[in-house]
């Protein structure tokens, strides 16, 4: 965000941003067209989700409010950055959106690839691949949000137990890297026709998938991996709550 460079630079030093800004995870996850369907946080009810346009230097995403029977509110912001590096930059910017001096610190490992937390972990923001998730109490509770952040992170990462808990089904296919562009075009067309029925996850162990001109493309790493270096795993994640009936991914190996 323009004009905040000096403050964010200082915050970056406090959070050792240089150490994790470009540190690649062993498995690179790229999440595309993420949304909340309602089953992601057991015990909570999805009240409403808003599509956030890209603005103020932050990528687009979804902003959701969850309610609980005891009156507690939970706010979850999910930003979908074009790449993992830009997600980490967005995490720093989000950390900078706290007025209290020293409010944010690096969260202990165990949630996200990297995470920062506010006082007593009543707010927690993490990065998983290109996705930034921020979980915050929004009223009626002063509890730590770490358990909820972990649940969402596990879901995004594809943890089997988390997927089961959230009642989502995952269909997986291997896409040769030289065919990724064609497959991504087909997935985009199908998803445009039936939005918010499935979100998509790409996994690679070398190079990475990034968003370019509105669709995922493979970008070789510094090693310049060849097409023979292995396929990209593409997964369609379908929350049961959507009833997902209109999404036509025929022929891609992603059918239910």
């Amino acid at each position: 965000m323009k004009g905040n460079e000096e403050r964010l630079a200082a915050l970056g030093r406090e959070l050792a941003f240089g150490e994790w800004a470009n540190r690649a995870a062993a498995e690179r996850v790229f999440v595309w067209r993420f949304f909340f369907a309602g089953g992601e946080l057991p015990g909570w009810r999805l009240h409403r989700a808003y599509r956030m346009p890209a603005a103020g230097g932050l990528p687009p995403g979804v902003q959701a409010v969850w309610t609980r029977d005891d009156g507690a509110l939970l706010q979850v912001d999910a930003f979908e950055a074009p790449s993992a590096a830009e997600a980490r930059q967005a995490l720093l910017q989000i950390a900078g959106e706290h007025q209290a001096v020293g409010a944010v610190s690096r969260a202990p490992d165990g949630v996200g690839e990297v995470a920062v937390a506010g006082p007593r972990e009543t707010t927690l923001a993490l990065v998983r691949g290109n996705l930034v998730l921020q979980v915050r109490n929004a009223g009626g509770s002063r509890e730590t949000v770490r358990p909820y952040a972990r649940q969402l992170d596990a879901l995004v990462a594809g943890d089997a137990e988390a997927l089961k808990r959230a009642s989502v089904t995952v269909r997986r296919t291997e896409v040769p890297r030289d065919q990724l562009d064609a497959v991504a075009r087909r997935v985009r067309a199908a998803s445009d026709q039936a939005p918010d029925q499935a979100w998509f996850r790409f996994r690679t162990t070398t190079g990475e998938v990034v968003l370019q001109d509105g669709r995922p493309v493979f970008r070789a790493g510094a090693g310049g991996e060849s097409a023979a270096a292995g396929p990209v795993i593409l997964e369609a994640v379908r929350p049961a709550a959507t009833g997902a009936t209109g999404l036509d991914l025929g022929g891609l190996g992603l059918e239910p």
């Binding site: 004009g3 009240h47 932050l58 020293g102 409010a103 006082p119 109490n137 929004a138 009223g139």
Partner: protein, 409 residues
């Protein structure tokens, strides 16, 4: 003979704002279709909304367009007009009569007809009995006398043939918003298409016009809205002590839809706000009624004088005793700011009250909501001195490069 009113257009020229209504929409997802009033569709005033810029229409004759249907083929021309059916009854004599008149005048200023009457003109009907949209001038409009507001205009439509008596044939009601100027960013007038969510929202105008009701200039309107936004605490919103003062509603863009839901009693994005949220709410709602405010920051990392954060009744450097690790400093602060958002420009701060007495660093405290208060230099006793401690003031500097008007969604 049967004459019916089919439709009325208030915004009949989307490219202009001097003689007709502004381009508006209801909210992020719903538009305001033109014609705004349609027979059988528009029942209540809010079904037929229109907004006018007081400054842009000043000195111009307002016009509307209306379409009629006539079932008598023997009649080809009628004279048509619309009058205000509200007639002030005569009050009691003497002193109480004057009070009565004042009360009536106040009620009309707050809620009454500001568009006056539809001036009579002859309308020619085609062979199919339809007039097509005909332009009518408005007369006796009071738009320029009553200031900002959201009011109801009721018209009784009448016709006559030749020099005969007028006959009533329709009554219409309309929600008329009067704003000071064409709303600047984040609002826009163009492109006038359904996808443009930055056309002024009537759901925002409902609140902003009520908050700034009867004000006649930008500073007065911004001050009134500052008071009302701050007054939302603690029942609607409150400062985010537990989250370290994080931005909830204005993270990137402004989730105005969620804030409106909160105003209407729903969860919205919850109760917590910080300075960025307050500056954005204030700037967005004030600009909807024609103010010209920025959201801009000051910083970095400065110690605070005792204050009353929104929703709090405890004088202390922000959240110091909350138990959530506050040190009595802001890493940054954001307000609604005029002009170039610099030292000499005035701020409106809906997030906190400062101490307005000669010594803002210590008790006793005299609560002062910063409205149209010059930012100033250290030692001048203006906003900067009231917000920051004597040692903190050097680090509390305007950051005009941060000025923006967050897009609404």
């Amino acid at each position: 003979m049967s004459l019916s009113l089919e439709a009325i257009k208030f915004n009949h020229d989307p490219s202009g704002a001097s003689a007709d209504a502004l381009n508006i929409r209801r909210n992020a997802t719903e538009t305001v279709p033109v014609p705004e009033w349609r027979a059988g569709v528009s029942v209540n005033p809010e079904d037929s909304p229109a907004a006018y810029s007081i400054e842009d229409t000043r000195g111009h004759t307002l016009t509307i367009q209306a379409n009629f249907r006539l079932t008598d083929p023997a009649v080809s021309t009628l004279e048509i007009r619309a009058v205000d059916p509200v007639v002030d009854p005569p009050g009691p004599p003497g002193c109480s009569g004057w009070i009565w008149k004042l009360v009536r005048a106040l009620i009309r200023a707050i809620s009454g007809n500001v568009l006056g009457e539809v001036k009579a003109r002859h309308v020619i009907f085609g062979g199919n009995g339809v007039s097509g949209f005909q332009t009518f001038e408005l007369q006796n409009a009071r738009l320029w006398e009553v200031g900002v507001g959201a009011r109801t205009t009721t018209w009784t439509w009448q016709y006559r043939a030749g020099r005969g008596a007028w006959t009533d044939f329709a009554t219409t009601t309309h929600r008329i918003y009067s704003v000071l100027n064409v709303p600047p960013a984040p609002w826009s007038q163009q492109p006038y298409v359904n996808l443009n969510t930055s056309l002024p929202w009537t759901e925002v105008l409902d609140h902003a016009c009520a908050w700034a009701s009867l004000t006649r200039d930008a500073d007065g309107a911004a001050a009134a809205i500052t008071r009302r936004v701050y007054g939302l605490g603690p029942s609607v919103i409150t400062y985010d002590c537990q989250g370290g003062g994080s931005t909830h509603y204005a993270l990137g863009g402004f989730n105005c839809s969620a804030f409106l839901e909160r105003l209407h009693g729903g969860p919205g994005l919850g109760e917590f706000v910080n300075c960025t949220d307050c500056a954005t709410i204030l700037g967005t709602f004030a600009n909807a009624v024609g103010c010209d405010l920025w959201q801009s920051r000051m910083g970095n990392s400065f110690e605070l004088n005792p204050m009353l954060g929104i929703g709090s009744t405890l004088w202390e450097p922000c959240c110091l005793s909350s138990g959530f690790g506050w040190s009595g400093s802001f890493s940054y602060h954001e307000v609604a700011w005029k002009g170039a958002c610099g030292v000499d420009d005035a701020v409106f701060d809906a997030c906190l009250k400062v101490d307005g007495d000669p010594d803002p660093t210590a008790a006793p405290h005299s609560p002062l909501l910063p409205v149209d208060l010059r930012f100033g230099n250290p030692g001048e006793g203006t906003y900067r001195d009231r917000l920051a401690t004597p040692t903190g003031r050097a680090n509390c500097n305007p950051l005009p490069a941060t000025q923006q008007r967050r897009a609404v969604y």
